[in-house]
Each structure stands twice: as C-alpha cells, then as structure tokens.
C-alpha cells in the first residue's frame, strides 16, 4: 500500500458538465464532498447521477469543468491513476479469478507489499473468509456485493464510489446491506459517494444527500433537512409522499403567515419563506397529518374537513386518502397503535397538523415534478 500518500482529501467538483450529443447529462455541477462523509447522489434514472460518478472515477470524460481531490486536479487523469475506486452496479467481479484474487487485484497492480495479510483482513471485514477460494458465480448476490465492496475498499482510496450498489438485491437483503455498508464506512472512515434512485436507501445511509434532477442539484442537505424541509416540488415528491397546497397570502399572524386556500386559512411559519404576499405553495408530509372525527377540539392549528375516500392498512400504519370539499385528495398516515377503529370510506373527518410541519416551495415550479419517477426501475 502506498503509505506515503497524503491523507484522505475532500472531493471538489467545479462547474462540471457532460453532454452526450444534444443531451446535457450533467449541467454545470459544483459540489464539495467533505472527506470521510457518506454522500448520496439521489435522483431518478437519467438525472445525471451515474454520469457524475463515472466522471469522478475517470470512466467518462467531462465536457467541461474540473474534478479535484484536495488540491490535486484529477480531471484528466486516467482511472488507474486516481485514488478513487468504484463498486459497480452489477459488481463487475472478474469471473476467472477467485474471491481472494478479485480482492487482491488492485493491490497486485500496484505491486503492494504484504498483499496476503491485507486481503485476509479485508475478507474478514466483509465476513467472506470462508469463501476466499470460490469463484464469484458460486456466491449469492449479497456475497458478490460484499466482494465488490472489499475489492474496491482494500485499495484505501480517497473516495469510494458506489453505483446503485444494492440495486440487484431483494428488499430484505438490501436493508441488511444498507446497515452493513454504513458500518463499514464508519469503520474505515473513507469518503463514500453513493448513487441511488432509492430515497429510502439514501436516507438510511448518507450523512448528506444531494437530490439531482436533469443534470442539476435540486437540493442538498442532511436526510432530515431535505425530507422535512424540501425546497422544491421535485424534492418533496421524490422523497416520500407529500400533500401540496396552492393558495394566497392572507396576512401575517404573529410569527406565522396566514394562507388562504379556497375558503380555508392555513398557517405557515414565517421563518420558512421569504414570501409575504401573493401566491404561495406549501406542503405537509402525510405522517404529520392527524385524522380525527369532525367536531373534536384541542387539535393542531391547521385544520381541514373532508371525507375518507380510501383506507389502506399497511401494517405499521394505515394510509388514508381524504377528499376535501373542493376535490383535492390529501393523504394521511396514522400509526397502527389501535387498529380496531379504522376509518371507513365516506366517513366525515377533520385533518389537522401543526404549522411548523409545513414547508414552503418555490411557487413557480411544476407541482407534479418528481412524482412517480421512483417507480421507473
């Protein structure tokens, strides 16, 4: 191992663009990924996230812009000269080599010392010691995935790139591997850049998520930040479900903005927006919305009446579709603490939530942006 290498460095993307013919895959992207973080690039297929990753790996040449590791400009370095390793989407394990040799591959090319001990330690880390002499095709999907991680990690890269690393696994295994990857990342402290279209996966693992759409970053922040306070309709819709309302500012009420939607007044925290008059778009997550019989008191400030259109029991929660008197459908998720009194379709109910749970979006956007895209794959 090249022990004289400098410590792990921040990864900087500066005005990075990539066009294929007329198609702008990545559009003037500027981004700093701090050393040692678990960073997720989240977005629908075709949003440019994989292209970004491949440019960092050196497998794709940027049309313009720079990629820097710390102070070093690596934009024009071939992949084999970059301290960056990739866990490929379909793993791309070498079928003619044993698991041991797959893992040792990078070290052998670098003519490293003490390969045997490093490979053994790495196989132990990913719990594959007993499989060392097998060929990749003799392993299960989850095991192959761990080999792919081990093969990349053993080189102690500055940045480990993961291209939809769990896409080929079934749901249960994927959950398990998410935690496993998180554990490994914490253990080795290398920067992980993780590309995925699965919002849950991104939120489970990453410290920082950048939501990408059409070659640009829509919003970047911690999972809690971008989930609780999405800035755009795309982000709100792409990360989980959301109820969006369109209304007009009716006035300022203390530290809240009063917003009139049809004939109902809602309250939005002043701090959440710069808008003080005119049209406004805000939203609330379904799990924040309480659903109660009409006429109850002591409810949160934002209230709206409607009737249940649909009740879906999904185990941990019950999901309701409630229709307002102007015909808008609102979803509400209730935890199943006492599932004996499920609401029935047709029942008149009141929906209520705290003003602080609302978030305000850019009103000029297409409110359906990001809807359904996660079902593409």
């Amino acid at each position: 191992m090249a022990s004289n290498r400098p410590k792990v460095e921040d990864l900087h993307l500066v005005n990075l663009s990539k066009t294929f013919g007329d198609f702008k895959a990545v559009d003037n992207l500027t981004l700093t990924i701090p050393a040692g973080s678990f960073f997720a690039l989240l977005g629908p297929s075709g949003c440019g996230k994989t292209t970004t990753l491949r440019m960092v790996a050196g497998l794709e040449e940027p049309t313009s812009g720079q990629i820097k590791l710390g102070q070093e400009d690596v934009t024009n370095l071939p992949p084999y000269k970059r301290w960056v390793n990739t866990v490929f989407q379909s793993y791309a394990l070498f079928p003619h080599l044993t698991i041991y040799e797959n893992v040792a591959f990078g070290l052998r090319r670098q003519k490293a010392q003490d390969i045997d001990n490093q490979v053994k330690a790495m196989l132990e880390l990913v719990e594959l010691t007993t499989q060392a002499q097998k060929k990749p095709q003799q392993l299960s999907g989850g095991q192959q995935q761990r080999v792919a991680v081990a093969r990349a990690l053993i080189n102690e890269p500055d940045v480990l790139l993961l291209d939809e690393p769990l896409g080929a696994l079934d749901l249960k295994l994927r959950r398990q591997m998410q935690l496993e990857l998180k554990r490994i990342q914490t253990e080795v402290g290398i920067t992980f850049v993780h590309v995925t279209h699965d919002q849950e996966e991104a939120m489970t693992m990453a410290d920082t998520i950048a939501v990408m759409n059409e070659g640009k970053i829509e919003q970047m922040g911690s999972p809690v930040q971008i989930y609780e306070h999405p800035k755009t309709a795309f982000v709100a819709n792409f990360l989980g479900q959301t109820n969006l309302f369109e209304g007009n500012v009716a006035g300022i009420d203390g530290d809240e903005l009063a917003v009139k939607v049809k004939d109902v007044i809602f309250h939005v925290p002043l701090a959440s927006t710069e808008i003080r008059s005119g049209r406004i778009v805000f939203g609330v997550r379904p799990e924040k919305v309480k659903i109660v019989d009409q006429g109850k008191t002591g409810l949160p400030k934002n209230q709206i009446n409607g009737s249940i259109k649909l009740t879906a029991f999904v185990g941990v929660s019950t999901q309701y579709e409630v229709i307002t008197n102007w015909g808008q459908e609102i979803s509400a998720f209730e935890q199943n603490i006492d599932p004996s009194d499920l609401g029935r379709p047709g029942q008149a109910v009141t929906l209520a939530w705290e003003p602080r749970h609302t978030f305000v979006l850019d009103p000029d956007q297409d409110l359906t942006a990001g809807l359904d895209t996660s079902w593409d794959e």
Partner: protein
C-alpha cells in the same frame, strides 16, 4: 409439508422407461457408426495388411504387419515434421492476425460488426480448391505481390510461389476464419464493465488486456487454435498448389500413397499415426491450458 408428503405417497414410484431420447439420437449414432467407426476399423485393418504380390494390382492380404508403421514413420518423418511445423506457424500467425480483428468486432465495430462477420464468412461461398488456386495467380512471378516486394528488395528468393512461405501463407489465409470466429464469440461475451473495473483497480491498458481480456478469451484461443491447427496439419491442397516438391506435408504423402501408388497399408498406417499424434497433442494442449478452470 403435508402436501409434499402426500404427493410422494400417491405418486407411483414406478419409473417409466423413456424411449424418446434414445430414438432421437439413433440416427446420429447410426451415422457415426456407418461413416466413422466402420471406416476407421477398416482403415486399421488395412494398415496391417501385407501385399499379395509384387504389384499393387495383385492386391493385399489380411495380416498383422506392424512393421508397416515403423517403415512408414522412418521414411516419412520429415513430412510429419513439416506438416506440424507449417500448420503450427500458420496457427500462430492466424492467432496474431485474428485477435485484433475479433477484438475490434467485439468491442468497437458496433454497426459494422455484422458486415465484418459477413466478409469473414464470405470466402466459404467459394470452394477451398478454387480459392487456393486463386492464390497461385496472386503469388505468381508477374503478379502484383511479387513485383511490389521485389521492387523494395524484400524477397529473399525473388519468388513466393513454390516456396514454404507460400504454403504457410495459404494455410494462414484458408484457416483464418476458423480462428476469428471462436475468438470473436469468446471476446464478445466479455462484459466491457470488467475492463472498466480493471482500469478502476489501477490497471494500465496493457494490464487490463493481460489480466482480464486475455484470460477470459482463452476458451476462444483454444478452440480457435485447435480448429486451425488440426485441419491445417492434415491439409495437402496448399502444399500441392503453392509449394515446391520440398514442401510436401504428410497429407500429400497419404494422398499419393492412396491414389498414385495404391500402397494402401502404408497410407493407412500413416493416417493412423497422424491421427494418434494429433490426439496426443490436443490432449496435452488442453490439459496445459486447463479448460476446466475457464469460464
């Protein structure tokens, strides 16, 4: 669980003899017996016969004359050697020529891939004999090739036709498609992402080739070299049409023993020896290359 047990009990344990598969392979087995095993045993019997008189017209008698083999080998070992030398050289040249072509087709050609495949297979539409004869014209003393090579003093013997060079060139030309096609099949199966992965794992282009592409293409290399070497070493057309009397290969000897001299026992003994040598060589080659380990 209970369902599974039940089905075991109720299902009759009697195993029905299935006739269909045997019936289906019958024509093939019959064909092999009639046109391979039967002639082969006849050949073996012939190779041990002794002459009935002084002239071939007197015919041959059944015998167990093992000396047919030793005398044939003693007399014709140079032709054996030449056959394996020429076809060996041709195989190596074929491999060197075919690999880049197959590689290009598999990874780069894209829309030209099918066109290239057609061009490679196209010569098969003309007969082998005809194509080799055409080479006589191409390589003739007043042909373009010779005059060009002569003008730049690249020709040691100031001719190509009737030299060993022409024989090897002819063999190379005739068997090149048999090298390209299996190589292409093998290379085409390689996931290009493996090459990317190797690059990602600190392999410069040369290492990407030798550590990933080459080992994964070995099945193609092995079948390609076998498909080239075996027929080339038994070939006599190229030596006959393009070579001189000093370039005769074992195929030529067998042919003339059978057809011209009608010395059937010697011809049969040579054929058998040739087959045995080839079999041993293939066995050693495949064992060395270790096909079991290949994907």
């Amino acid at each position: 669980m209970s369902i599974a047990q039940e089905s075991i009990i109720t299902k009759p344990v009697k195993r029905r003899f299935k006739r269909t598969p045997y019936l289906l392979i019958l024509p093939g087995v019959g064909w092999l017996f009639l046109f391979f095993l039967f002639p082969l045993s006849t050949l073996l019997a012939t190779s041990l016969q002794k002459p009935a008189g002084i002239s071939p017209d007197d015919g041959y008698l059944p015998a167990f004359k093992v000396s047919n083999y030793s005398s044939a080998l003693i007399e014709y070992y140079p032709q054996f050697f030449r056959a394996f030398l020429y076809s060996g050289i041709a195989t190596v040249i074929c491999l060197l020529l075919a690999y880049p072509i197959a590689y290009y087709m598999a990874f780069r050609a894209r829309k030209y891939r099918n066109l290239m495949l057609v061009l490679i297979v196209a010569p098969f539409f003309a007969s082998f004999l005809l194509r080799t004869n055409a080479w006589k014209t191409i390589l003739s003393g007043d042909g373009l090739v010779v005059s060009v090579l002569n003008s730049i003093n690249l020709l040691p013997q100031d001719r190509i036709l009737n030299t060993s060079l022409a024989v090897v060139a002819g063999l190379t030309y005739n068997f090149l498609p048999f090298m390209i096609l299996p190589l292409y099949t093998s290379l085409e199966k390689i996931d290009p992402r493996l090459i990317e992965a190797a690059g990602d794992l600190y392999s410069p282009p040369s290492q990407r080739f030798w550590k990933v592409v080459w080992p994964l293409s070995l099945p193609g290399v092995i079948s390609g070299t076998l498909l080239t070497f075996i027929p080339a070493s038994g070939d006599y057309i190229n030596a006959e049409l393009l070579g001189s009397i000093k370039d005769k290969m074992i195929g030529n000897v067998i042919q003339s023993q059978f057809i011209d001299l009608r010395d059937y026992p010697t011809a049969s003994a040579l054929s058998f020896t040739f087959m045995a040598i080839i079999l041993v060589m293939i066995y050693l080659y495949i064992r060395k290359a270790g096909t079991d380990d290949l994907v």
